[in-house]
Symmetry: D2
Subunit: 188 residues, 4 copies
């Protein structure tokens, strides 16, 4: 027994209710290879300036690298409907995308060529809902402690009015090393 009758269901799926969007991105493999020869802060600056393509997910979600500083990165997003959850707010994963990227890239700004990091754990606290009416959203990621085996970062996400919407902290495992040791993250 369903409480959703057929006519209602048909109406919700009507073509008049359909929206669509085409996204495009650049093949990430060649980008990663080019980036692996550059110091992290150069890679970030090149993405910010449009000389290196951003990763596919950045195009999918629609966020951009806005500022690159040693140990600090700002990402920006102009939200739109495809990012909404069922109740018409931005899905929590949208902020997660911005801030995970901002924190990982903040670490990269401190690393030499060939080194990187992968997220080990991520804790988000949602303090204020975000929606398509929130204006341009920004996520500021900064390095709290850079380590040899792991690094710790935090991030503040603000809505367009400058109000704090999400706070996050994350620990990243450090991977790779100088030219002589470029192994992928081993699975422990």
């Amino acid at each position: 027994m369903s409480l959703l009758d057929e006519p209602r269901s048909a109406e919700l799926f009507a073509p008049s209710q359909r929206r669509s969007r085409t996204i495009d991105w650049q093949e990430p493999g060649p980008v990663a290879r080019a980036a692996s020869t550059m110091p992290g802060i150069e890679v970030m600056a090149a993405i910010r300036d449009g000389r290196l393509p951003p990763p596919p997910l950045a195009k999918l979600i629609g966020f951009k690298m806005a500022e690159v500083h040693p140990g600090r990165i700002v990402m920006r997003l102009d939200p739109e409907q495809s990012l909404e959850n069922t109740v018409g707010m931005l899905h929590g994963a949208v902020a997660a995308a911005l801030l995970d990227t901002a924190m990982g890239c903040a670490i990269s700004t401190e690393l030499p060529a060939g080194q990187g990091s992968v997220t080990m754990d991520l804790k988000l606290t949602y303090l204020r809902p975000l929606s398509v009416r929130s204006g341009t959203i920004s996520a500021e990621g900064r390095v709290v402690k850079l380590g040899r085996q792991s690094s710790y970062t935090e991030d503040f996400v603000y809505d367009g009015g400058g109000k704090l919407a999400v706070h996050a902290t994350a620990t990243f495992a450090m991977i790779g090393a100088g030219p002589q040791h470029r192994s992928p993250p081993q699975d422990s």
Copy 2:
């Protein structure tokens, strides 16, 4: 001074390296209004069965509601390139999207019409990298404790081979109530 020369940059942006994908979704407003008159587990079953459209972000990321049980939801995803980060793995926000949704929907299965929840905090631990070669990814969200003001959930994300890839816990704030406020979720 940049280490990325012009010819290299042009090559990375070459049309031959461009990929694209068109996503479509249904306008979420009417869906939310229809859903607000149904018990949560009916809404989830209707989305699973294709009688109610999923939220826009589910179409953007590409995940589907696969199983609906009282207090437990399974989401599934067949990953593809637009979900990748710079180094060709799935971006951490992809798992966040699946598991945040699975946990929030698991709470919904226990709620009467007109009630819902919003994520207060979310903690993810990444245990194994995911990629387009991971097979069908599944996220099982379950309610640990249902409360009147907040509820606590956990989620296990597995790769296609059944290996645990991500574990998450989340606290949700309980919101709304039907017009008659019929039987709020009991505080266990």
Copy 3:
């Protein structure tokens, strides 16, 4: 089969290896009743100045309230051997005691008489080990967002040399209200 032979075990339990310490505290019930009639910041100042007894656990662990500011509290600890774990470092729960207290008290400084908070969740990241050789440890808790139903705080724990040892964030549920429920904390 045990690898720990009898003589070795006896030696480890020898009276010459025994240490002891007597702790004392004041019965907490009357303190809580007295405190319930005072604005939070007055309660904190009274504990800092020795006019109100600290809670029993503060005497057990040995930490003291050192600074009281609106929205910010500093706790201090001179560590000693009874706080050690098996490998001779301070047990992780020691920092947890300081910082959970500092954050909860930071919220109290913003609350009128009769209102308080309880910890909902607490996330600690250990960045540097602490020991009895760490000098005077300090934990600075501050309110990030004060809300009507929940509040969010963060805390930095430093060793005696001023190096960051632990970072923590916590969400507290807001409880109680004075008889007249005068001016609840505004939701910023």
Copy 4:
């Protein structure tokens, strides 16, 4: 100006309101050296059986190792007043002490002699308050994933009536190695 008058303050500090308790423990250094030659599960069994002294903090808080299994440890505590916070509940750090220990020891049960772990991050969610009226509290820590560089664990804390009071997850950095490499955790 203080709202706490002198006579009231004197009364709260009256000898009739004073409680005290003497704790004792064994010097931890020799215990650590003895333990370093035994497989972790043997060390845990020896502590459980009273052949090895527990760490000082376990005596301070009053918890005991109750069960030792491969990958799983149960700690128990009979709470008493010195563990209380200002409002007469058990301080949040008490559960933190039990569960951090239980999880770290659960990892130890899987390790050979000379290896150990240190807490990197710890996330606790408080689901039900604990007090001296909660009966015997138990904390069950278990290994979710054992890794070479880090391991992931979870813990459920129950009150004496078997109700879930706290849930926690933690990541530990793996330290030490076989007899040939017994370096302390380097500070990154």
